[in-house]
Amino acid sequence: MSTTRTILICSGKGGVGKTTTTANLGIALARQGAKTVVLDADFGLRNLDLLLGLENRIVYTAQEVLAETCRLEQALVKHKQEPNLALLPAGNPRMLEWLKPKDMQAIVALLERQFDYVLIDCPAGIEDGFKNAAAAAREAVVITTPEVAAVRDADRVIGLLNTQGVQPVQLVLNRVRPKMMSNQEMLSVDDVTDILALPLLGLVFEDEQVIVSTNRGEPLTLSDSSSPAAQAYGNIAQRLQGEDVPLMDPSQARRGLRAKMRKLMQTRIF
């Protein structure tokens, strides 16, 4: 049996950060030396290629590989700056109908022969798109934000993953706003982990740099960015690899910022 970690990145609700997480984790794992492939299972509305800056380099998809009109190597899009990372689109938007759970399993089986990590960017919802993507996954990372609708949808997805025997299932809490949390105007980290009863793999702060990096098609983890989200994704990748990295503390984050400001004000510029 292969030792490849095949991980579904899912959420239920759309727009909570699945694709952002897949791109950043993919790059971070690759930079840590793991051969990683990100599989875009959300090919009806694909944008993983865009986040990775690979949108102009896609020629084939997994469908052509399975139909044997091309070889896997031809369909894999290697990242130039980070050659340990490859992207494989499961299909293109015109092919929505073709993919079945067994196709997904076949693609993943091929990928597991040559990669250490297969990250599957899951479509939103809990219908066929989700079921296809989940069919091939061994473990899962559920992304949610500290908002009622996202948490509720995450709960549905966790229930489905449990019945499918996907294990372990871990949680990433995205778009955390430390200030709102400290004012108790946002569900706390403990609130969310208590409600969903999942181990927390990481938390990612709300960070404008995410949008900047998306504009450029260069995930934050590609450079040694010190932005909070970049750090968070790096930490998550390390935890996936089994390293013991302490979680960020939202209340400390604020204090850290204040301390930085104080230091800045004390710095003599002249």
Binding site: V148, N162, I195
Partner: protein, 102 residues
């Protein structure tokens, strides 16, 4: 929080919204997880009280049947204060005549 927001909050004495969010989530998830909508739950509550009332005299106004959930395990929790046992439990066939609604 700006000073203005802080004062607003003090004056209106609104609970912080995170607490409200948590309570609402816990309730809706208990229903989602058990696949029971409030209507079905209410029907079940009535039937359970009816059955229990055949055996013991319970305070129908106080009786409460609800879903509680912890660690992804949902439990049906019935809290039925018993006034006193009924000497002779009624037979099931006679349930129609039971003054459960009295």
């Amino acid at each position: 929080m700006t000073v203005k927001e802080f004062i607003d909050k003090l004056l209106r004495r609104q609970p912080a919204s995170a607490e409200t969010a948590k309570e609402r989530l816990q309730l809706v998830l208990a229903h989602d997880r058990s696949d029971l909508n409030p209507e079905l739950l209410e029907q079940m509550r009535r039937e359970i009280l009816e059955v229990v009332a055949r055996y013991v005299e319970i305070d129908l106004a106080e009786g409460d049947v609800s879903l509680e959930t912890e660690d992804r395990v949902t439990a049906l929790v019935a809290n039925l204060p018993i006034r006193r046992p009924i000497a002779q439990p009624a037979k099931v066939e006679t349930s129609e005549q039971q003054p459960a609604q009295a």
